[in-house]
Symmetry: C2
DNA sequence: CTGGATCCATGATGATACTG
DNA sequence: CAGTATCATCATGGATCCAG
């Protein structure tokens, strides 16, 4: 007798496609609702259960637990449980990190074919928007020499978007003498990025850019790669 | 019966994540069960409903209809309906075709982290296996000059795997003077590819390779990139 | 407070049969 | 060939509760 999964055997019983096809098998492990979004939020680094809960707005704790257990069972996620410490840190294994190229492709596809306008009140996490922005800068071949832009969120952390020999990268905080500093809120940043590039002002409600005029203009020209969000027409 | 919406309105109501994140939006359109497998089977070219039913073994007609309608609504699939002709041909739009790089990455990930042994009786469609093989040849940088290998399935069609200036490609049939011709069945081909490379014989049950000894050896060396399928251990 | 577990409701999917 | 119709089941969401 062989028990796979925890005591709650029912919850770990995932449905299979029954095809001998590696794509089908991959989707059996990744295709459940929320699963790839959990990976998305672990790509940037280890997170606690509540960190994930906040980024995965709308997920129920039950479902988050299930997804983390499934990912652990399949060797994509490891949990760091330290005796005597309350919090559990979840992190991707190397197999989990290997999903990043696929997720990058999916983000790139989405930016071209699944972008929609931001709706006020809709959770817009800086990490998610900066990921998309980085992909577009990378894929559209924007090369403007060594540059670093800091985006400081009043209601969240600080991130730096940098272009250097490694291409475009997003990291938390920590850079000296950035070329541009944007101070804003999550919502204002979302509104800013999803407005028409020609209408993006460097000083609007809850958003301010500082830096030399040249640097700020270079910033605005570059982020024009973030396309104006249109809704796809649906056929009735 | 029609009230203020068509009957299909219910089926197109997809659940959303409610995040302003392009990855979440992309998954709202692609993340339903079977959806990406439908795309998989349309990437190689237009297919009829029953063609898809056969490749998507286990899908119910109702679900296949739903998925095709959803994909049509989102502009990834177009249906070719000709008056007076019974059959409907489904094909990817450009937006649908743009999914191929992402699917290639997912196949590559799966070959490294989600491969499992073939189980006798499990449907193994040539197109799916040849896709995976092509990806591995490509990603592992196998370069052996202009070469073409034909794989002829007694219980299916004939495919040619070719390496030339465009890299590795898979196409149906149609090549003169192939370097190797493999004649086999779906099941034998699956068994062959998932056995240890060192144990692959050029003349086993339901599988025969013809061609010069040199060419056949080059073939065998190259397809060693298809790794022996192991099962991932699961933590009890 | 974090990190879950439990109960119930419901919508999505599956099985099977049937039809224009 | 290309789907519908009907019924059953399972995964997920919402709300609530609980232990360290």
């Amino acid at each position: 007798m062989y028990f796979w999964g925890s005591v709650t055997e029912v919850t770990t019983k995932s449905r299979t496609f029954g095809h001998f096809c590696v794509l089908a098998t991959a989707l059996e492990r990744l295709g459940d609702r929320w699963t790839l979004l959990v990976v998305r939020d672990l790509v940037a680094g280890p997170r606690r259960f509540t960190d994930l809960s906040e980024r995965l707005a709308g997920i129920t704790p039950k479902t988050l637990t299930q997804r983390l257990r499934d990912l652990e069972d399949h060797g994509l996620v490891e949990a760091d449980r330290v005796r005597g410490r309350r919090d559990v840190w979840y992190r991707l294994t190397p197999a989990g990190q290997d999903l990043q190229p696929m997720l990058d492709e999916l983000v790139y596809w989405g930016m071209r074919h699944a972008l929609r306008p931001w709706e006020p009140g809709e959770p817009a996490h800086p990490e998610h928007l900066l990921w998309a922005l980085r992909i577009m800068l990378e894929r559209e071949g924007i090369e403007i020499g060594p540059v670093s832009w800091v985006v400081r969120f009043i209601d969240d952390g600080t991130y730096v978007l940098r272009n250097d020999d490694d291409g475009w990268t997003v990291a938390p905080d920590g850079v000296d003498n950035p070329d541009v500093v944007v101070t804003t809120t999550r919502d204002a940043w979302a509104r800013f990025l999803t407005s028409r590039p020609s209408e993006r002002a460097v000083d609007e409600r809850d958003l301010h850019c500082s830096g030399s005029r040249t640097a700020v203009n270079a910033f605005l020209r570059a982020i024009a790669v973030f396309p104006f969000g249109r809704t796809r027409a649906r056929q009735p």
